[in-house]
Every structure is written in C-alpha cells, then in structure tokens.
C-alpha cells in the first residue's frame, strides 16, 4: 500500500500534518510531521508530498547503520529508531524532504504508514490523501 496525494483536493489545512506530528512527536507543529504541503501561486495550489516508499529507496541504500528496512506487511520503508545513529544521511538523500529529525529523541523519523492505518489519511477532510494498493512489490 501507499498514500496517494490528490493536489486538486488539498486545501492546505494541514490537518494531516497535525495528526502525523501528534503521533511522531506527541505535540503539534507541521514542521515536525512526516509529510509536507508545498504551496505555490499564492496558495492557489497545495501539493501534499508523502513518502513514496520507493522501490529503490535511496534512504535505505545510504544508511550506514542498516537502520532502514522494508516492512513486509505494509510495504513501508521504515526506520528502526534503536539502530539509527542520527547521522542524517537518509534525510540528506531523500529527494522529497520527508525524513525529519525527531525534536526530542534526536533520531531520524519517516513515514511508516502508521502500521497500515495512516492517520494523515483519516484526518484529511477532503480526500486529498487516500490509501492506494498497487500490488506487486508494493503489496
């Protein structure tokens, strides 16, 4: 599974980011959520940017501590906080900018699809984020 983003339905309300930051950091600040909303043209457009859980995941490839792996159940590329050495290479090589440093633990964090029930999708009031199933390698 993965999260599909429909920019045409996104209002930029960031309720998804609140839900994500709440789970990731036990507090509220969209900067500490694991997805981004990029605005353009005076907010005429709002682009939700979510982890692709790439088939060839550069974050996983560059991690020197082998802290990043694929969850076989959900297909999510996940970080094992206990193995993370806080080097930040994963964030540096993520082209989407959706890996962040946890403000309190100092470890790196990324979308893990909330174990198969993404809270951002549940929080979205417009259907701009939805769960998609692609089968195959992403099953």
């Amino acid at each position: 599974m993965h999260i599909r983003a429909n920019f045409d339905r996104c209002t930029g309300c960031r309720l998804c980011q609140f839900a994500c930051a709440e789970r990731a950091c036990s507090g509220y600040n969209p900067r500490h959520s694991l997805l981004r909303i990029q605005n353009s043209t005076e907010h005429l457009y709002n682009f939700p940017i979510v982890c692709n859980h790439c088939l060839n995941a550069y974050c996983q490839n560059v991690c020197p501590a082998r802290a990043i792996s694929r969850d076989e159940q959900t297909g999510a590329v996940v970080i094992d906080e206990n193995r993370c050495i806080s080097c930040g290479l994963c964030a540096q090589y993520c082209p989407l900018g959706v890996i962040i440093r946890h403000p309190e633990s100092d470890k790196y964090a990324k979308c893990d699809l909330c174990g198969g029930h993404p809270l951002c999708v549940q929080a979205c009031p417009t259907g701009a984020l939805e769960i998609a199933y692609t089968g195959g390698d992403h099953a």
Partner: protein
Amino acid sequence: MPNAYQGTLLHIDLSGQEVQHLPVPQWLRETFVGGKGFGAKLLYDLLPAGTAPLDPATPLMFFPGPLTGTKAPSIRACAVTKSPLTGLFLDSYFGGEFGQEIKYAGYDGLIITGRAPQPVYLYIADTTVEIRPAASLWGQDALEANANIKRECEDPSLKIVTIGQAGEKRVPFALLSCEFNRQAGRGGAGAVMGAKNLKAVAVRGEQLVKVADPEGFTKAVAQAHTELEGSDDIQVLRQTGTASAVEFANEAGLFPANNFQDSSFAKADRLGDKGQSKHLWLGNIACLGCPIYCSKIGAIRHGKYAGTISDTVEYESAGLLGANLGISDIRAVTHLTRLCDVFGLDSMSAGGAIGFAMEAAEKGIIDAPDGIDLTFGNVEAAEYLIRGMALQENELGRLLSQGVRRAAVALGGDSEAFAQHTKGLETPAWGPRGALGTGLAFMTADRGGCHQRGLPAPIEITHDEYNGKPVDPRATEGKAAMVMEMQDFSAGTDALVKCDFATAGIAIETYAAMLSTATGVERDASFLTDLGARIWNQIRLFNLREGLDPSDDRLPKRFFRDPVPSGPQQGQHFTTEQTAAMLEEYYALRGWDASGVPTSTTLDTLSLGTLPRFVLNS
C-alpha cells in the same frame, strides 16, 4: 505537565534595539487566557495613558491563544494596539498560519514598542531575534515584500506579516498582511507598524505545542469536528464562504447601496456566490487546522484584469467596494479588493471612504478631480481614490485616507449627514435600518461600528428564535440582553482565539472542553462568558481613559434621518427614542451607570479592581 502555553512573551523595543523574553504570569493566564484577553489587559497596562496611536511608545502586539497551533479546529490569532482611526482599543483578527508560527517559535505573544531609526524587519527563529535592515523593502507592496524576505532568507516556509505602502505612509486604516489572502484589516494596525519603521515580522519555529490531557483533548476536538460537520451554516460557508450572504442580505434589505442611501442592489447576484463561482473560483483553501475551507481560490481569466489571483471576495468587500459604490462587475470588485490588499488598505474602510466621496460629489460638496468621473458605478474613479489614499498621490485621496469622520469634519457643511461611521470606524456592509438589535451592536461595539462583536441581523431578519423566543426585528425589547450575550461570547472565545465562522458549529461547551484539556485547568461555558464580560469591561475602561465620550455610542445620522427608500425595509429608520431605550437597558445590564461608565461594583465582581499591573521589566 505540558500545557498549551509556551510560557513566554517576546518584547522587542525597536528604539533601544533590545529584546526581552518575559514569563507569562500565572494570574494573566487565569484571568485573561490569551488572544483578545491578553491584549485587553496588556494594552491598558503598557500604553502610557493618552499616548497617540502613532507614538513610538504605543505597543503593537500579536497574540495567539492557548489553542492556537494545536489541532483544535479553526483557531487563529489577533493584533492589538491603539487604533489611529478611532483612538480606541483595536483588536484585529487574522487566519492563515502566522499566529500559529508565533507559538511554534516558543511564544504566547509578541510585544513591539519603540521606533527604529531606519526601516527594519524582524526575523524571529525560536530564540534568535534579529532586527534587520529593510530599506530595500520600503516602498514595496505587501506581497512583494513578503516574497523578497523569503528570498533573502532563503526560506519559503517563513510566515510573515507585512505592511504595504499605506502602512508606511501611516494611513489610519492601513492593514496588516498576514501571508496571502489573510489580513488583519480593520482599524489601522498597519499604520502603527509603519510608524515604527517596521516593514515586516518574519517568524519560523521548531517548538512543539503540547497539551495537558492528550486523550481528553482528542475527544474534545473530535466533538468540535462533529459539530462542524453537523451544522448547516458551516456547510454553506464550506460551499461559498461569505459570498452567499450577499443575496441573503440583499433580499432582507440590509445590503448597502450607494453609500447606504439604499438597502438593496438590483445586481447583487453578480457580486455573490453565483457571480463569483462563474467568473473566479477554481478550488478551496483553508487556514491552518481548519476543516471548513471557506476560501474559494481562483483567478480572473478574461478581460482587463486577467491573471489576478483571487480568494473569495468576501461579503464585506463585495458590499462596500461593490454595491456601496454602485459597481456590479465582480471582476472589477475583485481588482479593487486586490489593490487594497497589496497596497495595504482595509477594503471596508476604503469602500466606505469612496462611497462617501461619490455621494459628496453627487451633492456638489466636492468637485471631481480633473479627468475623473466621480459617480457611483465608476470603477476608474474607485481605483483613482484607492491609489490616492494608499500612495498619498492626490489631494482627495489624502483627505479620504483620514477616514470618513475626519473627512466630513474637513469638508464641513452637511457632509456629516452621510459620513457612515461609528466612533470613526466605517460602517460594515450591514445597513441596520429594520433590524434594531444590529444597530445596538454597532453602537456598542468596543472598536467602533463593527459587525464582529455580535451580529443579530440574520436572527432578527428571519424572525428566528433566540433563547427560545422568536425575535421581532423592529422591537427594542430584549435586544440589549441579546447583544450583550453575543458580545460576551465573542470576547470570551476571542481569548482562544476562535474563527467567527466556526462558532456557527462549535458549541461554547466544546470550546471550554478543548481549553480545559489543552491547559489542564477545568473550565466550563460560564467561565468563557464571564471572561468575555471581564474583557469587555477592561476595554471599556481603556476606551474611557483614552477619551471615549459615551455619547458617541450612537449610529450614523443617515440611519435616523433617511428612511430606506425601497425594498423590503422601505420606510425603515431608527428613532432617537429607540436607540436611547436600547442603550439605557444595555448600560443597566452591563452594570454601567447611566452615562456608560462601569460601576465599582461591576469591576469588583469581575476582579478588575484588584488585579496586578503587567509591567515590562527593564
């Protein structure tokens, strides 16, 4: 235990170039909560009595509330200062994301005093606070300056409040531009910022806002979302923003036309949601954390103004820059509103001032400038005056930029008879003849003639029930109690700081539940209404101290002298007996004496006599 406060107020003195981090006193949280409450208390305590609004000593303050920056839906922030337009207390509200970013930077408010010797902007990133030169930004419009600061800082995620040229030139109704399509419009906070030589405040923050009882808070927030989804009014706002109010107000005979000469406009449908959806709208946008997405974003696609990006032309702008000027082309009204936004003028006061000028020309009190056809319906004349007011580039513009109260004094003659203002604040786009409670709300609003402190009009005009009884729009009885209850509700929840629209769905008990679980201090609905009364009286004390004459608790002369000439309210006008009766009852219910001054008993009941004074330690 965490709570939804960050615990710190940031004070920047631009004269001394000094920065202070001040703890938020516990008593201030308990008695004034945040937002409008903090503003009411701090402006009273920090402004030296009798200080002119544009004096460096006047504080310009930005306050989120305890719920701002959390996932509580539809919460925003306010700017508070002394109004250069009215000389009274000014609180002006804005959505978007700037208020939340103040919390994320770690603050429960920004207090800016003094005057920089040269143009500057403030850069605030958590505990880093820098006063940076802004000479190159001076003269730029509000959105140009916003873009250039983001470019200079190489940070598009900054949240920035700017002024346009009108603020730089200290136009008394200059606005604050709080990112795209979000303005703190009324009362001239932009002029106070300009008088401080402050072009912008740019903020970014990495702090988290945490709540005391996460589980309880989640439950309360879920309840608020359920109430929003269940409200028909919210569904209308979600579909059209306030644009659909145009046709409602017009059909009710409350919609101002030609400087309030009439109360309905034949082509109102072109200015409302039908006209706007056809010519402008493309999609929906929302403020941070709001599921209502009342904003209808779009663009003018064809014609003279093609390419202009537009949010909803909300009701007030459609009324005051449209029908009130006799203009029915929604694309032209969009263009005029956009000019106000980028130059930094309150579109409501601007519309009021232009309507006043058009009527003055109609009556032969002023001569139209060369080449300008200063008649109702003329878009070019309106544009000429907006430029004239904002850029101070022509004589008539300079006169009108002082607001209709001062313009009428300068012109003399009978011009006061059609100067539409209360205490200097231009009348909002609700002509109250035929809805007596709405008139009382304008008369008694704390910042001058204002519709956001309680607007009985929709209840009155539909004969809806209030407290279980159908409301007669043309009766005086019961109006004082209704207006006072609305004002206390509004002031109490503006301490949070709520969006006015969301209150059509979220119950006051739910606001209290969100506040309780966020802060860890149990509060009920009556706490919020008592808080509203305390804030209202604190502001009355400020206004009286700063020279408010209670005899100014009155409506524009037109609403007494000129019966509505046509439409559903034809023949309606106020009488002095009606307004005196409502005001007498209102003062008595408020616990004010017959001259409109709070009694000592009232102040004691609200604990206003015994509270400490808030000081800036130096």
